[in-house]
């Protein structure tokens, strides 16, 4: 088996400003053999995408590739090849599927036209031949009614179908190498499963190589033959998938494998990267102790009954269409316990959180909290309850006001709710809170953009804590974070729950994370709760068809072939 592409001593840096140069890739090397899937795994900033894009030279203008770097493909060095050669190769021999199908398709052309463009350009097919071939390709990637879909515009397709179109475009010229840059990250679990299966099937059928870039070891373990683990621009470890998963050598790889919540055990704390890196020897810290949920009290803290939110759209002069976001949802939240809500995009799980906070007004239903119906309170009455229910949003980059310092962010809620006698006292409290959530001591004077994603999420948590809430709604709060950072934030949330006996409404699409965090669980589908119960019961013996499908879709990681 010979190598299709070999990357040698690749160094890429980016010029930022006049004198600042940041090294993104620091001398890496790996091979992509023919007819095999190689996965580049790493967290954000590891340089995995930059490395892959260097192969087709699709780097931003400010990128500088070191002169000694070489990327060999078909006997030529792609880094020094003339642009014309590269143009012939791109889209024909080497093709790329990007992360966001919604933004990588041109919205003003039909999908048929866009796939046909590749064929006309590289294979010189006539429009008629091209359109016949497009139908074949759409059939191959599993788009229903391909004849009709040829003339569809990208917005008429679902996210999964759009990604299928991207894949059809990529395989149109029978490429030798398909680069897939996080192709399933933006998709739901069940769709992710289908796309992964499709890529594996096509790889096998066309005997091409796939360079699969992902942050998710679970996905990688299923699809890859070889794995390259990257961190901070360097290769930490590379080898066949079996050895990486069964017998990792590198501490970082071990840590990465360990800090992802698992479905089978529920330790008190998740292992974090720092445990491994500090330990040096790579000894897994003892995390065997199983976490026990706090018992249910006599009465639930929050009880929701028949909660519905129906959006009405004008479809004509008098015609109205109702779109139910949440239908007849009833659930209870107990003091000190975590209620997990899982579901795919559009299932209404986020709306549930918004309804409890009254950030969105419910259409019908009642929410009893401490004897009062939250949904019937006036704005003034609601203020007293606002303090007691708080929310942490998904995107830590968007949920903090960029023009406020961390000190202002943390003291603002105290000012509004008249906590603390003076500004000095509030700032003292803010500093204490910042320390409690693990932020550096000098953070108070800084602005949010100076912090990493995980630190920003800690700021958001500290902001909630400043009001001493009893209920915390975590709306996909760790979904935007890297795996290692995710583990530290989850540990922090668990510590805080124990310390302040808060109740969590933990909303996520990530089934493993919910399984780890939740005591009780709701499964939502199309706005309705389809299954409820204790987290263990649902994962062990799912009743509803949808729950079963959802659980089957979870990437399982590497499974050795049956002996």
């Amino acid at each position: 088996m010979s190598n299709l592409v070999s990357v040698r001593d690749l160094r890429v840096s980016f010029r930022l400003g006049k004198r600042r140069v940041v090294e993104a890739v620091r001398g890496i090397g790996f091979e992509v053999p023919e007819n095999a899937t190689v996965a580049l795994v790493g967290e954000s900033g590891s340089g995995k995408s930059v490395s892959a894009m260097s192969i087709v030279r699709l780097l931003p203008d400010n990128a500088i590739v070191d002169a000694a770097s070489r990327i060999e493909f078909g006997g030529a060095d792609l880094l020094t090849a003339p642009v014309e050669t590269l143009r012939r190769i791109r889209g024909k021999d080497i093709t790329v599927v990007f992360q966001e199908p919604m933004s990588s398709l041109n919205p003003v052309f039909t999908v048929g036209f866009q796939i046909g463009e590749v064929l006309r350009l590289h294979l010189g097919l006539s429009p008629k031949q091209a359109s016949d071939r497009v139908v074949e390709l759409l059939t191959e990637v599993g788009i229903p009614e391909p004849k009709a879909r040829v003339d569809a515009y990208p917005h008429e397709l679902s996210g999964g179908q759009q990604q299928r179109v991207m894949i059809a475009m990529a395989i149109a010229c029978e490429p030798k190498l398909l680069i897939a840059d996080e192709p399933t990250t933006a998709l739901d679990v069940t769709v992710q499963r289908q796309i992964l299966e499709l890529i594996a099937k096509l790889q096998d059928k066309h005997r091409m190589s796939v360079l699969f870039i992902s942050h998710d070891l679970g996905v990688v373990g299923e699809i890859a033959d070889h794995v390259v683990v990257m961190r901070e621009g360097k290769v930490r470890e590379s080898g066949p998938v079996a050895s990486i998963f069964a017998d990792p050598r590198d501490t970082y790889t071990k840590a990465l494998l360990a800090c992802r919540p698992r479905l089978d055990v529920k330790p008190k704390r998740l292992p974090v990267i720092d445990d491994f890196m500090a330990g040096g020897a790579g000894q897994p810290i003892a995390v065997a102790e199983t976490r026990v949920a706090r018992p249910q009290e006599a009465r639930p803290l929050i009880e929701a009954k028949g909660l519905s939110k129906i959006y009405r759209l004008k479809t004509g002069l008098f015609a109205r269409k109702s779109i139910p976001a949440v239908q007849e949802a009833s659930f209870s939240l107990w003091r000190g316990r975590t209620l997990g809500v899982v579901g795919e995009s559009g299932s209404g799980k986020t709306t549930i959180g918004m309804l409890l906070m009254r950030l969105v007004e419910a259409t019908t239903g009642e929410v009893t909290f401490d004897g009062a119906d939250l949904l019937k309170l006036s704005d003034a009455q609601m203020m007293a309850y606002r303090r007691r229910i708080q929310i942490i949003f998904q995107n830590p980059y968007a949920s903090l006001n960029p023009r406020f310092t961390v000190g202002q962010i943390l003291t603002e809620p105290m000012k509004i709710h008249r906590i603390g006698a003076s500004d000095d006292e509030r700032f003292d409290r803010a500093a204490q809170l910042a320390r409690r959530v693990g932020l550096p001591a000098d953070c108070i004077q800084k602005y949010p953009h100076e912090f990493s994603g995980g630190q920003r999420q800690r700021i958001a948590i500290a902001r909630c804590l400043s009001m001493q809430p009893e209920v915390l709604i975590c709306d996909e709060s760790v979904s935007a974070l890297d795996v290692s950072v995710q583990a530290t934030v989850l540990n922090l949330l668990l510590d805080l729950q124990e310390e302040f006996s808060m109740s969590y409404l933990f909303i996520s699409h990530d089934l493993a994370v919910v399984k780890y965090m939740a005591d009780d669980m709701l499964v939502m589908h199309d706005g309705a709760i389809v299954e409820r119960g204790s987290a263990e019961a649902i994962y062990d013996a799912p009743q509803h068809e949808y729950t079963k499908r959802l659980l089957r879709s979870i990437p399982t990681g590497y499974r050795p072939a049956n002996p």
Binding site: M383, I391, L400, N401, I416
Partner: protein
């Protein structure tokens, strides 16, 4: 990653760049931006000095002969100035003292007139950049005119920005019926041609500097309104505003404490564009005689005067006003461009 954060943060602790600090750092790297900033600053210094009277205080003094030539054209013959000198009657005087009843008194009057000291300052033949019809220094006029024009431009822009931002914020944030009403108001204002609207306001309010400021402000808020409204609609559903709502921040606080600083760069850039536009508008208004009062000077009144002068070949007043205006407006526009680049918040 967390491991690297600590040494770095300890090192960088003293300088925590706010958004404006970062913008200033970016602006400093832009050569065109820095030069235009220097030019604008020089102009502002100039009008400050002229406002306190240190520069161009005596612009109304008739220092030179009428239409005094610029010094670099000094040799040429100034026909118009001679024409005014020889204004008296020509030819021998006719003696009509026998029929003039006042004749006996002439001698006495002449004697008394000689006793009164008439100090007519010596008029120079040339001025640095020439003189106008009355022999006033064109350069001093241009500086004084700059003070007036820039003052009017900036203040009108402030008025328009205030109206536009306030209405835009309300329209974008509150929406609903209030938003519809404001949209209607906006449509009414934009459906009338600007110049007609200006004439209408000018006819009602009469003449004066404050009128010019008010007119331009009332006419020019629409563009600002639209942009601010769009920004508010965009930011209204952003997570940080939702987060503010979740902690119980009031509507006013969300509108002006949370959202406004985040769109302030848009407002600032738009306001700079308005300043440029309003200076030009003031010039046009004054040229048409609807602008600043006759006893004051602005670039616009200078251009209006230049119209008649140009016919007799006296081009320097036109040149002075145009040069000042062109340099200032170009510098200001380039500065606006640089500001827009510098303030573009790429901070994630």
């Amino acid at each position: 990653m967390a491991a690297v954060a600590h040494p770095v943060s300890a090192e960088e602790a003293p300088r925590s760049q706010g958004v404006w600090g970062a913008a200033w750092t970016r602006l400093k790297t832009d050569r065109v931006g820095v030069v235009s900033l220097a030019v604008v600053a020089a102009f502002l210094l100039l009008i400050l000095l002229s406002a306190v009277g240190l520069v161009a205080g005596g612009w109304q003094l008739e220092k030179g002969v009428p239409y005094a030539h610029p010094s670099f054209l000094g040799e040429r013959e100034n026909v118009e100035a001679q024409a005014t000198d020889l204004a008296g009657p020509k030819g021998p005087p006719v003696d009509i003292s026998d029929i003039d009843p006042l004749a006996p008194k002439y001698d006495e009057w002449n004697r008394r007139a000689r006793e009164i000291q008439v100090s007519s300052p010596p008029r120079t033949e040339t001025l640095l950049f020439g003189g106008d019809r009355w022999g006033r220094d064109v350069l001093a006029k241009a500086v004084k005119g700059a003070q007036m024009s820039i003052f009017v431009g900036v203040f009108a822009a402030v008025v328009a920005t205030f109206i536009g931002t306030l209405l835009g914020a309300v329209g974008g944030y509150v929406g609903g019926r209030v938003g519809d009403f404001l949209e209607w108001l906006y449509n009414v204002f934009t459906s009338v041609p600007d110049i007609l609207l200006i004439f209408a306001f000018a006819a009602v309010f009469g003449r004066g500097i404050s009128t010019v400021v008010l007119i331009l402000g009332l006419v020019g808020w629409t563009g600002m309104y639209r942009q601010v409204r769009a920004e508010y609609i965009k930011h209204h559903s952003r997570e940080y505003v939702r987060a503010a709502q979740a902690i119980g921040a009031s509507h006013l606080s969300r509108m002006f404490v949370h959202i406004l600083p985040n769109i302030s760069h848009v407002v600032l850039v738009r306001m700079s564009l308005l300043v440029v536009g309003f200076i030009k508008a003031e010039v046009i208004l004054s040229f048409l005689g609807l602008g600043v009062p006759i006893e004051l000077v602005s670039w616009g009144t200078m251009l209006a005067e230049a119209q008649t002068e140009l016919v007799i070949g006296k081009w320097w007043q036109l040149a002075a006003a145009t040069l000042f205006m062109a340099v200032f407006l170009t510098a200001f526009s380039l500065l606006t461009d640089a500001l827009r680049d510098a303030l573009d918040p790429k901070l994630r």
